[in-house]
């Protein structure tokens, strides 16, 4: 375990003192937190229904058919309809809808009008709808959740592989190092975007598969840096000491060397996150990402591009991307500055 040593505390303090990065981190964390509970905020299902004396909490439950609430259909209850009905009746029944009462897959189509519909507060489409009539807020929020977790998981997979191989190369050196150097050189020259496009035009990848495909071509990025850092750390006395005490290679790499290279790893992470988001978005934009109708920013971007007249589509997705990518970049910059070793050797 990495215990918080005074040096780390100093780094964290330093990070906190860089206001731009610090607030970006707060904003970004809040966004992720919100997106985790998106079902409570943006959903076509009601939060609470009180009907004939019973309480129902449909949000995370199984589907409740219309018959339960006195409708004649067996498919999922339309809670917006139900809200209207309850407000007309005087039976003491009531329900509470989330602030945005639309799901990400639900098409809200109207008589004699054709989507995309512009933003409307009375209809609670705060950012309008996309070209199929799905609520923009819902698409953005759920799309954000998918993009962020996609890139976080991708980051973890990439780093696990990249760091393990990188430090092994640095630590073991010799033929192992030489062999992997060549492998990585060749691997890096494969145009991975095209490969992904080819793969996903033959099979439609799901979430996990897309991560695996992208990790397959993305793990090399970290190896070079980690390899170099490991070479440096390997020559230090503490490594020698550990070796003298009879520690195994694995133990030395994972318990001693990697914790000492953490600052390098942490510095790169935020940029990898924004890279992941951009990669997924561009794949979706090109139509080679997650299968429709998965909520996706790339798809919205494409819709916005082909329907320039519907400014709210392109407008809101571009705004959302700017906010996300800027905060992530600010975080990255602040982390880099906070972990910068030069900091301690400069004199005023």
């Amino acid at each position: 375990m990495i215990t918080i040593n005074p040096l780390t505390i100093k780094k964290i303090r330093r990070f906190q003192s860089i206001k731009r990065g610090y607030y970006s981190l707060l904003v970004f964390s809040i966004l992720i937190l919100i997106s985790l509970f998106a079902e409570m905020l943006v959903n076509k299902r009601a939060l609470v229904v009180r009907y004939e004396g019973d309480y129902y909490f449909p949000t995370y439950a199984e589907m409740i058919p219309g018959t339960t609430f006195g409708y004649d259909y067996k498919y999922e209850t339309n809670y917006r309809d139900l809200a209207v009905r309850f407000s007309e009746e005087t039976g003491g029944n009531w329900l509470l809808m989330p602030p945005v009462p639309y799901g990400a897959f639900e098409t809200d189509l109207k008589e004699d009008r054709y989507p995309p519909f512009p933003p409307s507060f009375s209809e609670k489409h705060y950012l309008g709808t996309d070209t199929v009539g799905r609520d923009m807020v819902a698409r953005l929020v759920y799309g954000f959740r998918i993009a962020v977790f996609f890139s976080l998981i991708l980051l973890m997979v990439n780093y696990t592989i990249g760091i393990s191989i990188g430090s092994a190369m640095g630590y073991l050196g010799g033929r192992f190092d030489l062999f992997f150097q060549r492998v990585i050189e060749i691997w890096t020259n494969i145009p991975f975007l095209y490969v992904i496009i080819i793969i996903s035009s033959i099979v439609v990848p799901d979430f996990i598969m897309l991560i695996l495909i992208m990790a397959f071509f993305g793990w090399m990025g970290m190896t070079w840096t980690i390899r170099t850092v490991t070479y440096k750390e390997k020559a230090r006395e503490y490594t020698l000491a550990a070796k003298a005490l009879g520690a195994s290679n694995t133990r030395i790499i994972f318990r001693h060397i990697i914790p000492n290279t953490i600052s390098v790893i942490v510095t790169f992470a935020p940029f990898a996150v924004s890279g992941g988001i951009v990669a997924l978005t561009s794949l979706d934009y090109l139509g080679f990402g997650l299968p429709p109708p998965t909520p996706s920013w790339g798809e919205l971007l494409y819709q916005g591009w082909s329907n320039m007249g519907a400014w709210w589509i392109a407008g809101s997705v571009i705004a959302a991307m700017i906010v996300t990518l800027t905060t992530v970049t600010f975080i990255g910059e602040a982390v880099r500055e906070a972990f910068d070793p030069k900091m301690y050797s400069t004199y005023e």
Binding site: M63, P65, K74, F105, E106, V132, I202, P291, P293
Partner: protein, 634 residues
Amino acid sequence: MIIINKEDGMRNIIKLYVFIYMCIAVMVFTGCGGEGKDETPKPAAEKHRERARPVFERRPLPDGIKWLTNDADPVFSSEKAKKGGLFRTAIMSFPLTFRFVGPDSNGSFRSAILNNHLGLIGIHPNTENIIPEMATHWAFGDDKKTMYFKLNPNAVWSDGTPVTAGDFAYTLDFMRSKYIVAPWYNDYYTKEIDKVIVYDDHTLAVVATKAQPDLHMKVGLNPIPRHAFEPLTGDFVKEYNWKIIPNTGPYQISDFKKGKYVKFKRKENWWAKDLRYFKHRFNVDTVVFNVVRDYNMLWEHFKKGKVDIFNVTMPKYWHVKSNMPLVDSGYVKKIWFFNDTQQSASGMWLNQDRAIFMDKHVRYAFAHAMNIEKVIEKVLRNDYFRLEHGFMGYGKYSNTTIRARRFDLEKVEQYMKKAGWQRGADGIWTKGKARFSVEVTYSSSEHTPRLVVLKEEAKKAGVELKLQKLDPSATFKKFLEKKHDVAWMGWSTSLRPQYWEHFHSANAHKPQTNNITNTDDPEMDELIDAFRDSLEEDERIDLSRKIQKKIHEIGMFVPTFMVPYVRQAYWRWWMLPDVPGTKMSGDLFSPFSSATGGLFWYDHDVKLETEKAMKEKKTFPGKPIIDKTYKIKE
């Protein structure tokens, strides 16, 4: 490889399939013409006979021939038509050649040239009966492969030379020649047409290689002017690239400037101008095809009055772009004309080799779970229409009593319960470990909005659709390999319905055939075999309708949409008959088509009136014309 025809965006996807289909499947079904589709080499024994004497046989006419003609079908032109005027239309690029065979000749401009070459007989666009073109009379031989023709003695080539039976015999020589560099034609005229027999200058017979139904569609040859081509040499392709060949139709090219325009002039004393079905047609004096290389530019040209008509079938043009002052003030008219031609069998094809679709009830339930009507109404602006079955618009061959299964939750429930399924906790039907969740494979992102709505609606019925969009060739491969659950696609059309390749068990359960539903039904096989073997029209019509009924009963196909119309905008001084087109019209302002074209005319007085009104800012009533004369009944 996808030919984007901007004139009709809504049909692009169908065209794509038409193309794929043609490449892969239709080679065995000749008749629809077009070279380059089939590169089968012609028999090696084929000697070129270019310099030889005419090869036709001259014999006495056999006895007992019953001559037929047709002078009783209704005419479809208007007596009000006036001759005169200049009609300006546009082509996207200048043709690469004026030849109608050989390299580079298969461009879109070929129809303008070929339409001015008449055949022996034509098909009435409304009744589908045979009508005279170059022949006045015809007769069928007892062998079901010979047809006799009597030529119109007045028929002349545009250079004044009379058309004789020998010109039809020359068609075979010409089309079989290797000098024309047209392997498809070489092959077709060798394998399908056996010979032309000349009895005298105005009597001939054309013999097909085998007995067949609809013989008249195969043997109604076009003559080729021997005097213009003889002797054929190896220089044919080069020599005739820009040559204007004598023709028999109403117009002939009079002038052209490469890269700019092609001008056609009406023949003042055209030999066929007073024939029953040609009277009051082909009225415009001059037709100019200007090259306009950009579609948006063409729209601007049209608005400026530099082009007389514009195709506004695409929703964007009909609903949005053409809502402009020119139309509101009535200077430009808009027409929505419903025709009644073969509709592409587009929809959802269920793979019956999948365990879930082996049960007929489940297939029925699936059909009832598809809310096609909602898609048409809410997504497609009511611009598309519900396809009732796969073979609509085939005239008498279509069974008009079949109705596609409509969205109906109760029926879904009924059928699913009959099949022993229950609703799961998430509302989706389940049976044991199986869940009613199927993959719908499609290829055009234009179709995603439609499928998204279908998916949401299907959920109400307890059916989960998983959408899978693949690249077009991967999609088609997946279908042909029968690896799909549900295929979202449309097939191309042909003159007569084709059943064997789609529904016969001979093509089931194996890859690379068009039976993508794996239909394997003994009764169906019997019907299809009978249909293929029959040479009697009435019997074939009856069987065709029965087969369509059977398809509906098996329920492996959920028909979706059709676009049975054309929408055009035109300047006010262009006039159309009271019924503006025919059942087969795909373009109301086709200037030359011998079957459906040349019905419009130019009214100079109206033009002057309009120009005056435009100056004085006077307006005319500006409502779009909607003609439903031939709309397929619902």
